[in-house]
């Protein structure tokens, strides 16, 4: 589904990603772990198409297409979704209206009929229930006045409604208490299926106890220095990132 080859990216002349290779197959959950500043979020942003990052080398194939050639909105319509680390507020625009515009843009792109207000309302009520989201949040302005946990839950809710093919979750677990974490993890587990893929960007092993990944990659200084199964996350938890650092220095 997704193939990243020798990806180099920078922001304001500062090189962040220095040759990433990653292959994600449909039906898989990949965890990208790494210490602060290792380039995890940059990878997520580049995949989503944030304009402030520039790709200097490498390529990204998504479902046989050149992802880097697509605008962010086109990527979204093609099924790439990113849950934001810091969800954005849009005053005066209701959460439901915002999501309806997004969903209908995606549907239109695929030649499907746009949902009318009634059909849409039915859909979001169901989905809200499945991620344990308070229905009153649907009519509130997008993310305005939401608590940290509500914002993150809203991202997972949007994912559930939009049903993307590739979901990139950028530190969705950060700043959540244990109950909120469980709800979010539950939402991800409900979403994951044989027909989609998830890239879970995280700093902590914590969420991986709930969302069990198929592959774990450790990102360090803009490169993937180690890949493994779910046990790698546990090793990291135990030994810390320094352990990988030392190891990687030896191999280099």
């Amino acid at each position: 589904m997704l193939e990243i080859v020798n990806l180099h990216a920078e922001i304001e002349g500062k090189k962040i990603l220095k040759g990433i290779d990653l292959k994600v197959n449909v039906g898989e959950v990949h965890a990208i772990m790494g210490p602060n500043g290792s380039g995890k979020s940059t990878l997520a942003q580049v995949l989503a198409g944030r304009e402030s990052y520039s790709v200097s080398q490498g390529e990204i194939r998504y479902q046989g297409k050149d992802l880097l050639d697509m605008d962010p909105d086109e990527r979204a319509r093609e099924g790439v979704f990113m849950a934001f680390q810091y969800p954005v507020e849009i005053p005066g625009v209701s959460n439901a209206y915002f999501l309806k515009s997004g969903l209908n843009a995606v549907r239109k792109h695929h030649g499907l009929e746009e949902l009318d207000a009634m059909e849409f309302l039915k859909l979001i009520k169901e989905k809200a229930k499945s991620v344990n989201m308070d229905e009153t949040l649907l009519n509130r302005p997008v993310n305005q006045g939401f608590s940290g946990g509500e914002k993150k839950r809203n991202e997972i809710f949007q994912m559930a409604v939009l049903e993307p093919k590739l979901a990139i979750l950028d530190e969705t677990d950060s700043g959540l208490d244990i109950d909120a974490l469980r709800i979010v993890a539950d939402g991800i587990n409900k979403f994951r299926s044989k027909s989609n893929a998830v890239i879970l960007v995280t700093h902590y092993q914590r969420i991986l106890s709930y969302v069990v990944p198929d592959h774990v990659h450790v990102l360090l200084n803009g490169r993937i220095v180690r890949s493994g199964g779910k046990e790698l996350a546990l090793q990291l938890e135990e030994k810390g990132y320094d352990w990988v650092k030392e190891e990687s220095e030896v191999t280099v």
């Binding site: 909105d73 979204a76 954005v88 005053p91 005066g92 843009a105 302005p141």
Partner: protein, 485 residues
């Protein structure tokens, strides 16, 4: 021949309605302004002597103002000197060439019509194409007129009101905006061309939105429009001014005056959509819209609401206000002003609290894009006698891009210690973050900007009559087209 066909025929030939209009060239008077010109205007309109006297008084006052260079300069707008002697103060009709079909209309304007979803026949009317006699709203207009007549509601052109209802006009004309009010009001009082007059009798709730749009003969009323609306005791009326279609006009200076009078327990809602030609992308041309609009809540428990969506004109200078004279009267002002490219707007309101327990609400949303400059200027005045007066003002500015500007000039004069005044102001920028967030959900940049701007204006659009609100949203998106990325 049925009466309806008669009316249609009359309307189809309305260009010649005033009888003396036979040759466009002959009907345009010399440039410049003097007493003779004022007399000529009054004569052409067949006005009674008292109306001429009124005009002359205003003219003499304006002359004094002009001599002493009293043209207002305090507003946050920039423009070259206006040559008042270079303007033609009378021409009827507009010497716009009549077109034979829509194909002759500027393609840019046609595109906008289509985006706004304006029906074909209406497009023709708006752009001056000869109209078929079967035009829908003609019959609509006639039906409406009959229905209004049954209720005793008077709704006609200002000229007609001067002839047919002189007592009402005499009683209220200039009672809210006297000719001495300001430079442009004085000019308007001397040379006003035409406009609308509405009177709602005691206890009558006007069953439909009154709109210049249905009053076909109000088209092309020219640059010095005069409107007077009186709601008698217990009457209610909602009035719509303008339309979303782009309005081109060869006259650069527009100085209109609108007066509203609400007696005891009366309610007037006045909604405006202004889409005059804003000038081109480089800021060349465009209308100077210098308007004086004021309502007087004369009676107790009366209420006046101004709602405006200002997207056009090169320069907008306009402060629809309320004089809250009656006890417990309420004044409201809801405004969206957009400036794109090189447009400038200095707009806001005046709420003058005179009576007891008077309340006012001000919600102003300024949107600046391109090189646009947008200023909110508002005065809240609480007089000594206005015990228990309350005001709430909220002024928000939204910036799109980094070449534009937003300014806020709130003034307050409080002479009664029981008054409560709240003022909130904010300035925000459409962030790249917001747009990216929308795009990441599949929404295009253009739709994202529209969504964010409409969200910003929500509190004002809510105040507009339903179909106006829908049109206003579309208009906003057209006005801001291409302002991002």
């Amino acid at each position: 021949m049925s009466t309806e066909t008669n009316t249609i025929e009359q309307l189809a030939t309305k260009e010649y309605k005033y009888g003396f209009v036979t040759d466009v060239e002959q009907e345009t008077i010399q440039k410049g302004l003097n007493e003779d010109v004022v007399r000529l205007i009054s004569e052409k309109k067949g006005e009674p002597a008292w109306m001429l006297e009124w005009r002359l008084k205003a003219f003499r006052h304006w002359q004094e103002l002009e001599k002493s260079n009293a043209e207002p300069t305090w507003a946050n707008i920039k423009f070259g000197p206006i040559d008042y002697q270079g303007i033609r103060y009378y021409s009827a009709p507009k010497n716009k060439p009549k077109l034979n079909s829509l194909d002759e209309v500027d393609p840019e304007i046609r595109k906008t019509f289509e985006k706004l979803g304006i029906p074909l026949e209406e497009q023709k009317l708006l752009s001056g194409v000869a109209v078929d006699a079967v035009f829908d709203s003609v019959s609509v207009a006639t039906t409406f007129k009959a229905k209004l007549g049954e209720l005793g509601i008077i709704f006609c052109s200002f000229s007609e009101a001067v002839r047919e209802h002189p007592d009402l006009v005499k009683q209220y004309l200039g009672s809210v905006v006297p000719h001495t009010d300001n430079f442009f009001a004085a000019l308007n009082s001397a040379v006003f061309s035409d406009g609308s007059f509405a009177y709602i009798p005691k206890g009558v709730r006007c069953p439909m939105e009154l709109s210049t749009y249905f009053r076909i003969n109000a088209k092309e009323t020219g640059q010095f429009e005069r409107t007077l609306i009186v709601a008698d005791e217990g009457a209610t009326v909602s009035y719509l001014e303008g339309c979303t279609a782009p309005m081109r006009d060869e006259n650069q200076l527009h100085a209109a005056v609108v007066e509203l009078v609400a007696l005891d327990n009366a309610t007037i809602k006045y909604s405006t959509i202004q889409n005059w030609y804003p000038g081109d992308k480089e800021g060349k041309g465009g209308i100077y819209n210098f308007v004086t609009k004021r309502g007087k809540c004369q009676g107790k428990n009366s209420k006046i609401t101004w709602t405006q969506v200002e997207t056009g004109a090169a320069i907008t200078w306009k402060y629809p206000g309320c004089i809250l004279q009656g006890d417990n009267s309420v004044g409201e002002f809801y405004s969206v002003a957009v400036t794109n490219n090189y447009q400038q707007a200095d707009t806001g309101t005046k709420m003058i609290h005179l009576g007891k327990n008077t309340r006012s609400t001000v919600v102003s949303k300024g949107i600046s894009a391109g090189h646009g400059q947008n200023s909110y200027r508002g005065l809240i005045k609480i007089s000594k006698k206005a015990v228990g007066a309350r005001n709430f003002s909220q002024c928000d500015s939204l910036l799109i891009g980094d070449q534009c500007g937003a300014h806020t000039f709130p003034y307050m004069e409080v002479k009664n210690s029981t008054a409560r005044i709240e003022h909130e102001a904010s300035t925000s920028k459409i962030g790249e973050d917001q747009i990216f967030y929308c795009k990441q959900r599949g929404i295009s940049t253009e739709d994202a900007v529209n969504m964010i701007v409409n969200g910003f204006c929500k509190e004002v659009f809510r105040e507009l009559p339903m179909e106006f609100a829908v049109e206003a949203q579309k208009l906003l998106s057209i006005s801001l087209e291409g302002s991002v990325g």
